[in-house]
Subunit: 305 residues, 3 copies
């Protein structure tokens, strides 16, 4: 099942048939994992290039490659910063394309993934380009919703926290916009509301969305997707202090509720650890879903799925 | 031969039947190494998580995993320091448990290994938690004594240098305390004597131990285990200068002696390089013994030995 | 085809029969790569030890090892700097020799490769020792000339830029000096001319060499090997500014020319990006040739070729 693109740099590149194909292969990859892995990508090399460190994403990509029998060459941000003074991203991609079979790249600059993809002669997966895109996170979020709730069409999702700067919620909106009858409840402080470019997209896709300032409004949804609110986003520290408590999800909130709780991690307090033991808590399973999703993408983009 | 524990965080967790089982498997692993490795752990992934760098220990664990056909995902202290601001150790373990099959973790904080093991849903081996435990070092020391001297019961060992802060000598005392008729000679400056918690343990175990300030008292033992004396342990620099020479082992000391010289490495002068060529010098072989010991533990803790 | 030396620390160690043997095996390795790799070094471990970071060279060595089915343990400069305070290079080599089967080492100090090789009980390949040698770069340059031009005897090569401090051009001179009727045109600012030790060597080898200050003189050669001119080499910044433009190779220079353009990379402006699309531009293919050359060396030095 080859994908209709050579590189994956943005969630916006994906059509519904693409996400469905990827999720189908991810399910197969979960079966592969249950059997202890495969040799599908034996002899293939992933170049794991992290111009800024992200151990979670990096280890997830590397695990995915290894579970399929492939190998990994790695460079992280610290090595790059001292080394590539002066070399263009394009020249680095030309070089790496002669070593590896596929690239996963994280870079702090917006647009760097597209720039790199143009120069790469092997497939490239964007593993986050600064405030830009992080399509594999959006895909693993989508896969988690499907696994946890059994559906994507007709889902009702609350997004909580920093909806203005949060890259993951924007990308997930773009992917959920491909499905039918999806409803959104956006719960955030007024300083951190969902940007208009996203809500306009959802209007075009005929997705309903409402705004709220109250955490409780998310508890009756199918899914509550919580993100971190960062102190530095507020001009007035007192605003942050007031909001901090208001946006901390606890086990008490969830008593008797069926809502699935997701979080892109790392969390720093916005979900109390008391939630972890509840069946609602899907965020660690969500992190685990990064492996089959990335296995699916590696296999499909190397035309081996 | 499965071990009676899920995680290995402390040498104190080990009973004599455990150390004997591990040493038996380590001998088998030496045979595996002689044949160029095996595929016993093919498809398995070790997460090598070093919150503080220790290239020696890290490379030894990674070599052990690879010699058994397994694969390795790695993160070292520098990456962590910049990344995991704010994420709890427990959350990181939850995540990594969904990627890998077994964890080796080094962390600068005392008690971090137990904390991490509680959160991990896959086996965890403590590769050193600050001033706390480093059980695989103690096991490779034990294995070295057995290989070099042909016995553990009845061994007479001198421990030399910093016995107060030296994590490795404490752990080795705990393991040797499991054996019969073991005798200790503790050779150190008065500022750096073996702590009472260790000598009390040895008393309970009916191990004899004597104290000396003289390096020569170790030369008639079966084993002399030398450790580094660090200048910063002394209030008065003149004390350090006086002691420095007194505790440097040279080839002259060893003329006509049968004693086996060990050192956990790195050394910084306390064993003269002139000793390296003598048959007494076991410290590089000791470093090499880390590989079969860690192969044994990886295999046993994954129930594959 | 075993090589007549245990370690490879300098291009000067190589005789013509050695370079021919290595280039022959490299051609076989290109065929191996075309078939997707092999299992020739299965079960073997490369220790990739970079005391100073060089992602390009490190990833090339690691790729080479993996394409032959081998595995890699890695330590880079940043980890070393914080760790090995006080440990001698010799002790580190003793340790690593007990883990891995072969070492690739980059180190900032001149002469460190020879020092390390003496202590290592497994083969060591110098991946650059400061201002000293970098023999695998010289071999991949040689291989590139042979592949691009179909010959080495009788080749006419222009070397451009910093010929005084440029390690790569010196090593390449030493290797080309092994061949017949080789002619050199050295094009550099007067401040950065080829040192006498190299020109004397070429005289002994009966290689003709002429000096020029004009880039155009290189355009009628078989090969133009361009290197970076660094501003910090000039006492007078105005000299650098004047020269900068004079030594930038553009597509206009190459119109109608057959010359093969090489560069050890990274480049920082001395070859305009407009050159990249021309058939003359061999520098990215040159980088790629590092993989078969290093595969050949790894296999030969492990007696597996």
């Amino acid at each position: 099942m080859p994908l209709p693109f050579r590189h994956l740099t943005s969630a916006l590149d994906l059509k519904r048939e693409d996400t469905e194909a990827i999720l189908t292969v991810a399910r197969e990859m979960d079966a592969v994992l249950a059997k202890g892995g495969s040799e599908l990508l034996k002899g293939k090399i992933l170049a794991s290039l992290f111009y800024e460190p992200s151990t979670r994403t990096r280890l997830s990509f590397e695990t995915a490659m290894m579970r399929l029998g492939g190998q990994v060459i790695t460079a992280d941000g610290l090595q790059f910063s001292s080394l590539y003074k002066g070399e263009t991203l394009e020249d680095t991609m030309e070089m790496v394309s002669r070593y590896a079979d596929i690239i996963a790249m994280r870079h702090p600059e917006l647009g760097s993934a597209d720039k790199a993809a143009k120069a790469a002669s092997i497939p490239l997966i964007n593993a986050g380009d600064g405030p830009g895109q992080h399509p594999t996170q959006a895909l693993l979020d989508l896969y988690t919703i499907q696994k946890e709730r059994g559906k994507l069409d007709g889902i009702h999702i609350a997004m909580v926290g920093d909806l203005k700067f949060g890259r993951t919620v924007h990308s997930l909106c773009y992917l959920l916009g491909l499905y039918k009858d999806v409803r959104f409840t956006f719960i955030s402080p007024p300083e951190l509301m969902m940007p208009e470019k996203v809500t306009k997209y959802l209007d075009e896709k005929k997705c309903s969305h409402v705004v709220s300032g109250n955490l409780d409004d998310g508890l009756s949804c199918d899914v509550m997707y919580v993100t971190r609110v960062q102190q530095e986003r507020f001009d007035n520290p007192a605003d942050y202090e007031r909001l901090k408590l208001q946006y901390v999800l606890t086990a008490d909130h969830l008593a008797g509720k069926d809502v699935t709780v997701m979080h892109p991690l790392p969390r720093v307090g916005e979900i109390a650890t008391g939630v972890d033991a509840l069946p609602n808590a899907a965020y660690f399973r969500q992190a685990g879903n990064g492996v089959p999703i990335r296995m699916a993408l590696l296999a499909m983009m190397l035309n081996k799925a």
